[in-house]
């Protein structure tokens, strides 16, 4: 991967508003098109189907936004960060816009591994009805496989509730194996028991992934920071 003849540019961007609805692959595809529209001198891989040399940061689930998301793109020529920003200005959809960039070294960790700690902000459409109680476990069902995660293995900063009880922040970390706890699944578990009608809707539909009916109480769920340990 490391190719000293290439310039490795780390670019931060926002995934917000309607674009919070995008899946990781859709973000990846859109980013690639933004790079092409910005006319950056991106490097191309060799091989049967040449593609852009780009590597994305850790994934966000559908419905979860981010204000400090990142990717690396390898350039064949140096372009000043200021110029890069100018070229991105007209190339991006506003809800998936580039915010800053800097060059990183060829041996720095990949963006998906560089920042294991994620800080999330949850904005509710209504104040919490009761004190929050952090669940001990969350259950993730995917493709009919059920996994039970210990919350304490992932949660590094417990939920902090704002004075008006509508904003909650918390941080999670990825394990060294790469395993993560999905923030939306955690939020569903965290908020269950707050509003009986939403609990009932969640029960009846049996949503096990994503916010599902809990979305009625959620204005936004956003990763507001990613950092090293």
């Amino acid at each position: 991967m490391a190719d000293p003849s290439l310039f490795r540019l780390r670019v931060w961007f926002k995934k917000q508003g309607r674009c919070a609805m995008l899946a990781h692959l859709e973000v990846a595809r859109t980013i690639e098109r933004e790079i092409r529209r910005a006319h950056l001198p991106f490097a191309i891989s060799n091989g049967f189907s040449p593609h852009m040399r780009i590597s994305l940061g850790s994934a966000l689930p559908v419905g979860v936004g981010g204000t400090k998301e990142c990717f690396d793109v390898f350039l064949t020529q140096y372009v000043s960060p200021q110029r890069v920003m100018e070229q991105f200005a007209s190339a991006c959809a506003p809800d998936l816009a580039v915010t800053s960039c800097k060059y990183v070294g060829p041996h720095d960790p990949a963006p998906s591994a560089a920042y294991p700690i994620s800080k999330y902000e949850l904005v509710l459409t209504r104040p919490l009805a009761h004190e929050l109680s952090v669940p001990e476990t969350v259950t993730v069902v995917r493709k009919k496989k059920t996994r039970i995660l210990q919350v304490s293995d992932f949660l590094v900063d417990p939920p902090q509730v704002s004075a008006d009880k509508t904003t909650i922040t918390f941080s999670t970390k990825a394990q060294s194996t790469g395993a993560t706890m999905r923030p939306d699944v955690f939020v569903c578990a965290l908020l269950s028991g707050q509003w009986p009608e939403i609990d009932a809707a969640c029960q009846s539909e049996g949503h096990t992934l994503g916010l599902g009916h809990m979305a009625a109480a959620v204005d936004t769920l956003t990763r507001i920071d990613q950092r090293m340990i």
């Binding site: 508003g17 309607r18 674009c19 609805m21 995008l22 899946a23 692959l25 859709e26 595809r29 859109t30 690639e32 098109r33 933004e34 790079i35 092409r36 529209r37 006319h39 191309i44 891989s45 091989g47 049967f48 189907s49 040449p50 593609h51 852009m52 559908v62 419905g63 190339a91 991006c92 959809a93 506003p94 809800d95 539909e205 949503h207 994503g210 916010l211 599902g212 009916h213 979305a215 009625a216």
Partner: protein, 626 residues
């Protein structure tokens, strides 16, 4: 207009692929605060999901055409997927447009394209979800004008009662004229009927409510199945031709989607029409005359489009792209300009000969996956009947060249149920396929031998209106299965993969293509019985259609399978693509005699009548290479 986004947003976490509904994509054109709220509004609808409709070129062209004019604007809408439709109904959320997320029913004009014969129940689903009365005669002054366009309007009769007006032919100019007529009519406080009369005055417009079905005797006398009952209605509706096509830019600004879609790439329409004259092909008759855009225009447009959209693939689209007289020059220039950018050039279909494969080689780069060859019929006799001007020599030189050049699989397309087809022709499909396999095995690099794959795909022939086979009935579903089985059983080579389109839905296509007004109630009943998304194998509900036939008293099989006599009045006789019925009749006779007719762009005019009537000519950039 009302903004339904808050309601839409609240439901999105509950649906599959919410990305289909969020809009705000790169290239979307939104209304701004400076725009006049009284501008006349046009909503262009593709009656299937976003994945299928987003790339539709007609939708793009017409939206751009309307937006280019003052005092009017256009937005797009698509039919949501079934899960969201059901949820929307449960929450009283009507169909909305993409850009403004406004109720479709609030637009002045709603245009629905009819892209294929299996979209009829989706049209009703679309109207119902929008809260627009299904029948033209139930719509009132406040309802939008509901207009149809697209390939299936060449037999508009099954859809007649659902549309206020139907556009025949190319809509680039006509759509703007429609919006303008509605704008002027509303400004002058004209009644709905008066505005419809203005629409009927536009060339190429058919206003079905201004016609009545004729009794047999009148039909025989006039030669038409319907007659006008309003002075603005013409007896014969001639298709519109956009004469500016060849000289217009091939770069059609488009929205770049977030979602993964079918055909998600830059499309550059390099030519329109195809005059090869395959007798089963409706597009080949209805998109005449052939018009090519120039190599300069195409190369410049492709590069500009790539730059503006960020796509990594450009497709040079048309009915027969490798027939473009400058195709080699276009591909060579594009390859050179795009070198080192990881951008692919593709052509949707290639000619079935060594030249066609040569062109495919030019664009394939190092990646040589699969090639598709539409051979259509298994014997030379039947290929002559259908005027598929392809010889065994063409086929085998194409196969030989392709496998020499590094491809390792190819797929052959055939039809079953073509007029005059016998069991020998079916065994001929098996025979030629096995010989293609052997030829491929010989040509392929011996080290690649275990990657060799040859497949065939069989489709049941659907006779189409406005073609030389418009008089021919379709074979029954049982007969179709029997014929498919003959081919399947005759292919003994285990290396050949045989697949076929489910013949169950073919009768619906045949009915839509050649049915009359009596089929309107059938569509409606089928939809009431739950039919929708008929083109989706997993949704197609045969019983819904068959029961509908019983309920409205129509024998669906007999409509699909009926043969018309040459002197019978056809339900769509009042609609013309410009190709004379006498030419179609002559072509049908030549089919019977196994005589072929050449392509007029190679061999000179063959007398279909269109150009002579209109005082135009086909437009190629250079002499075409046969």
């Amino acid at each position: 207009m009302r903004d339904l986004w808050p309601q839409v947003k609240a439901l999105l976490p509950l649906v599959e692929h919410p990305v289909r509904y969020i809009d705000h994509e790169f290239g979307t054109v939104h209304r701004s605060a400076d725009d006049d709220p009284n501008d006349t509004s046009y909503c262009m609808i593709y009656p299937d999901t976003y994945e299928l409709g987003q790339a539709n070129q007609a939708v793009r062209i017409l939206v751009n055409a309307v937006n280019a004019h003052p005092h009017m604007f256009a937005e797009r809408a698509y039919l949501p997927a079934a899960d969201f439709i059901d949820l929307m109904r449960a929450h009283d959320l009507p169909l909305f447009s993409m850009e403004s997320c406004a109720p479709v029913a609030d637009f002045d004009i709603v245009g629905i394209t009819l892209p294929h014969e299996l979209a009829a129940t989706n049209v009703l689903e679309t109207l119902d979800l929008a809260g627009i009365p299904l029948h033209s005669h139930d719509r009132t002054e406040d309802d939008p004008f509901v207009v149809a366009g697209g390939p299936c309007t060449y037999n508009p009769e099954p859809y007649a009662q659902f549309f206020d007006a139907i556009c025949i032919g190319e809509g680039e100019e006509q759509t703007v004229e429609i919006v303008d007529a509605v704008r002027a009519g509303r400004a002058a406080h004209k009644s709905r009927k008066e505005i419809l009369e203005d629409l009927a005055d536009i060339s190429g417009m058919y206003v079905p409510s201004f016609y009545e079905l004729s009794d047999n005797e009148t039909a025989k006398k006039t030669g038409y199945a319907v007659h006008p009952i309003n002075p603005h209605a013409k007896q014969v509706i001639e298709k519109r031709i956009w004469e500016g096509f060849a000289d217009s830019s091939a770069w059609e600004p488009c929205v770049v989607p977030y979602a993964e879609l079918v055909h998600d790439r830059l499309n550059i329409e390099i030519l329109r029409g195809c005059a090869r004259g395959c007798r089963f092909c409706q597009a080949g008759m209805t998109y005449r005359p052939v018009r090519e855009r120039s190599a300069d225009n195409i190369v410049k447009s492709a590069l500009e489009g790539l730059k503006k959209t960020g796509y990594d693939e450009v497709s040079l689209t048309s009915l027969s792209s490798t027939d473009h007289s400058q195709i080699r020059e276009i591909l060579t220039r594009l390859n050179k300009a795009l070198e080192g950018t990881g951008t692919r050039v593709s052509i949707p279909s290639q000619r079935l000969d060594a030249f066609g494969v040569g062109m495919a080689e030019l664009v394939a780069g190092k990646k040589r996956g699969g090639l598709t060859f539409a051979i259509e019929a298994g014997t030379q006799r039947l290929r002559d009947v259908i005027n598929k001007n392809v010889t065994e020599e063409n086929i085998f030189s194409a196969v030989d060249q392709a496998f020499h050049a590094g491809w390792h699989h190819c797929k052959l397309y055939f039809m079953v149920g073509l007029p005059t087809e016998t069991d020998d022709d079916l065994r001929g499909i098996a025979d030629i396929t096995q010989r293609v396999y052997e030829a491929a095995k010989k040509a392929i690099d011996p080290r690649q031998k275990n990657r060799l794959k040859v497949g065939i795909s069989l489709a049941v022939f659907v006779p189409k209106s406005q073609t030389p086979f418009q008089w021919d009935g379709q074979i029954s579903p049982e007969e179709a299965q029997r014929r498919i089985n003959i081919v399947r059983d005759a292919i003994t080579n285990r290396g050949i993969d045989v697949s076929w389109h489910d013949p169950r839905s073919s009768f619906v296509e045949a009915i839509m293509s050649r049915g009359g007004r009596e089929c309107g109630p059938l569509i409606e009943q089928a939809w009431k019985n739950g039919a929708r998304f008929d083109a989706w194998r997993e949704f197609f509900d045969e019983d819904a259609w068959r029961h509908a036939g019983d309920e409205v008293g129509i024998d669906v099989d007999s409509i699909a399978q009926r043969n018309f006599d040459f002197d019978e009045v056809l339900p769509w006789q009042h609609i013309t693509s410009g190709v004379h019925t006498s030419f179609l009749r002559l072509e049908r006779k030549r089919a019977e005699q196994e005589k072929v007719t050449p392509d007029c762009t190679f061999a000179g005019c063959t007398g279909c009548g269109l150009c002579t009537d209109r005082g135009i000519d086909f437009e190629t950039q250079e002499v075409r290479h046969g």
